[in-house]
């Protein structure tokens, strides 16, 4: 008798506990994103008061344009970092893709769409190699992607042989992609936003997306729960590579001049943006929205310092301080959340 009474009780209570636990986790991380957005708003407000021209039409356009490529790369990187991995090859992939696209369109009149598709393919190719080595080769991601960074860079140097793609050789349609706009909104930020929103939706709603978080939280538990870890990790790298390659094509469109080592060293900026944006480097938590905000914050700091006439050397120092602050906050939040969750499940 008592058994039958108890049964409905537990079955009703369990989902409720799960739901409230999830909403707690959500609330904590929404708070994380809100705090970055707040910092960003403060920065923009302060700069705007000091120099009202910071936010005129051209100013807003510049801010969005400056952030677009980094936002894209941060979205790709987040998906990998969420699975408790890392992709250090992104800078090289952008460089290779930008050069490949530049070389392809140089002196021709290929349209912007062809170039974007080519960039995507080049990036996806690089991503699939990294992904296969990490997931099937079971080699630590740090080492694999570091190796890929150098290999891709080597291929790029070997191919470029010191050649340079100049703006005069790039078709106008491609350059327009980098500087043009629709309804007053520049293309680059629009593209970045579409990729961002799409990725956020998939990560939050689809089973495959949720499984990436499961893998990052506890690979062992995910394996026991039947998550196809290798396939998911491979997909994450494929995505990161494809997005980086895509960003390379946009790089060509934005800067016009392309050489073998564009985006050299950007992998670290991207990882910083992701971590500042609340995607924990140990995996399992964070959203691409946060990562995108992190990227926007980092580039806006650069622009704001320039407008405020502060020597640019402070920029790196400030980015470094932000990074440390973000990691400390993550640690504190994690400890508190674990405690809160434990309390709830004990109840």
């Amino acid at each position: 008798m008592s058994v039958t009474i108890e049964k409905p009780d537990t079955s009703a209570a369990a989902p409720e506990t799960a739901r409230s636990a999830r909403s707690l986790v959500d609330a904590v991380f929404r708070a994380r994103e809100i705090s970055i957005a707040g910092a960003l708003a403060l920065l923009v407000l302060f700069t705007w008061i000091a120099e009202p021209r910071f936010l005129d039409g051209q100013g807003i356009k510049d801010l969005l344009l400056n952030a677009a490529i980094l936002v894209l790369l941060a979205v790709g990187q987040s998906v990998v970092v969420i699975t408790r991995n890392i992709d250090l090859s992104v800078g090289s992939v952008v460089g290779l893709s930008a050069f490949a696209c530049g070389n392809f369109v140089s002196g021709t009149d290929h349209g912007a769409l062809t170039v974007l598709a080519l960039g995507l393919l080049v990036g996806a190719g690089c991503g699939i190699v990294s992904g296969a080595l990490v997931s099937f080769g079971r080699v630590p991601a740090l080492v694999v992607t570091l190796g890929m960074l150098y290999i891709i860079q080597g291929v790029d140097y070997w191919w470029a042989q010191g050649e340079q793609i100049n703006a005069a050789d790039v078709p106008q349609s491609v350059l327009d992609l980098g500087s043009g706009s629709v309804l007053g909104l520049p293309y680059l930020p629009l593209i970045a936003f579409v990729v961002l929103a799409g990725t956020a939706y998939v990560l939050r709603t689809y089973r495959g997306g949720r499984e990436l978080y499961a893998i990052g939280s506890s690979p062992e538990a995910a394996r026991l729960a039947g998550v196809p870890i290798r396939r998911r990790v491979l997909a994450a790298y494929l995505f990161s590579g494809a997005v980086s390659g895509f960003a390379g094509a946009l790089w060509l469109a934005r800067f016009g001049t392309v050489v073998a080592d564009n985006a050299h060293g950007w992998e670290l900026t991207v990882v910083s943006a992701v971590v500042v944006g609340g995607v924990a480097i140990v995996g399992g938590t964070g959203t691409v929205w946060g990562a995108a905000l992190g990227a926007l914050l980092l580039t806006t700091i650069g622009s704001a310092l320039a407008v405020l006439k502060v020597d640019s050397f402070w920029q790196d120092a400030i980015a470094g301080a932000l990074l440390l602050a973000a990691i400390s906050v993550d640690r504190i939040v994690r400890v508190r959340m674990t405690r809160a969750l434990r309390k709830r499940s004990a109840r």
Binding site: D62, Y157, G162, V259, D261, H264
Partner: protein, 360 residues
């Protein structure tokens, strides 16, 4: 060396960036730093014989900072072609990275191969000294170009242009465009690039003359020879100084980035951009009116002059002492200056009328 900086980024990037890297790693601009114990150009006891003919079959080896540096590739190719003119044989070898010590093993190999002359763009003025001195002991002539070694480690340095001329001419050109009036700013590479800072010092000195009393240098910013950073610094300048009339960007990465930004912004036609850039890079912006003119020396002439100078050394026409003269093919006669420096000449100014004649 080239208009650029240290910076770790964009090594092979544009010519500038590549040289930049090397300069950075070298921790100095070879052309400007002479304050080490290797001062005083290397001298041999041999007597110069100005009348000696150029020897046939001379073997010249070009050793650039790194092989995928587009700017130095142009120099080396021109040098190799020039060697063909006087019946010599040139070749280019070099490391794939521009780190301080990467050239050492290449020098040793070239010495073993018994080349007649080594032409080097040094990644570090001192790191390559030992092996170069060994080479000179074995009667292999050493000529530095683009980026100097310590003076004691080479017989000649082919300098593209004097730092003073570069700095002053940049201000003179911009002043003419602005009718000697208005606020100006400088977009440099990195804060500790020796060549950039030397040029900027001469720019400031030129600006202090009475002719420029209505011109004011309001700010020097550093784009680190990075596209994005140069974009942001240019944006910052234009926002922070609404009355800004002109920008000098003495770095090829910086000037191309600034031109690209201005060409797609509301500032096009409102601010004058001048500086050092390559014609290929700037062609589009000169044609669409974003940039009226910019300057650079011709790297091909630099390679050509280097080749002839090395041949003159190897043939005994000169020894590298001050005041000696030699003929450099179609470029005419050159005189060896103090510390074994040979200066190519003033930078060439490129504008709509002549840009299509140049392809580098």
């Amino acid at each position: 060396m080239f208009p650029s900086s240290p910076a770790r980024r964009r090594a092979a990037a544009t010519a500038a960036a590549a040289c930049a890297l090397a300069v950075a790693l070298a921790g100095c601009g070879g052309t400007t730093k002479k304050d080490n114990d290797n001062s005083g150009a290397a001298r041999s006891d041999a007597k110069a014989d100005p009348g000696a003919p150029l020897k046939k079959g001379l073997k010249l080896a070009f050793l650039p900072k790194q092989i995928n540096n587009p700017y130095e590739k142009l120099i080396d190719e021109a040098g190799i072609t020039a060697a063909g003119e006087f019946g010599g044989k040139g070749k280019e070898v070099g490391p794939s990275d521009a780190s301080a010590s990467s050239q050492v093993s290449y020098i040793n190999t070239l010495v073993q191969q018994r080349q007649d002359a080594i032409l080097i763009a040094a990644n570090d003025p001192n790191a390559v000294c030992g092996p170069l001195k060994q080479a000179m002991k074995k009667d292999i002539k050493v000529v530095a170009y683009d980026s100097d070694t310590a003076p004691a480690c080479r017989q000649l340095f082919i300098n593209q242009a004097g730092s003073e001329e570069i700095g002053r001419s940049q201000v003179q050109h911009l002043a003419k465009q602005l009718d000697y009036k208005g606020q100006i700013a400088i977009l440099s590479a990195t804060q500790n690039a020796t060549n950039q800072n030397t040029w900027i010092r001469f720019m400031k000195d030129e600006l202090s003359k009475p002719a420029y009393k209505n011109m004011k240098l309001v700010k020097t910013v550093y784009g680190d020879d990075d596209d994005q950073k140069s974009f942001q610094e240019t944006q910052g300048l234009l926002k922070a100084y609404p009355k800004l009339k002109g920008i000098i960007a003495p770095t090829t990465v910086g000037i191309a980035a600034a031109a690209r930004y201005i060409s797609g912004s509301s500032y096009q036609g409102k601010v004058v951009l001048n500086g050092l850039g390559t014609p290929n890079q700037m062609r589009k912006y000169v044609k669409d009116g974003t940039v009226e003119q910019f300057a650079l020396w011709d790297p091909k002439k630099l390679g050509y002059l280097g080749s002839y100078a090395a041949a003159a050394l190897a043939s005994g026409q000169i020894t590298g002492a001050e005041g000696e003269k030699f003929k450099a093919g179609k470029l005419g006669e050159y005189t060896v200056g103090k510390d074994g420096e040979v200066i190519l000449g003033l930078p060439t100014v490129f504008d709509k009328s002549n840009i299509d004649k140049y392809h580098f």
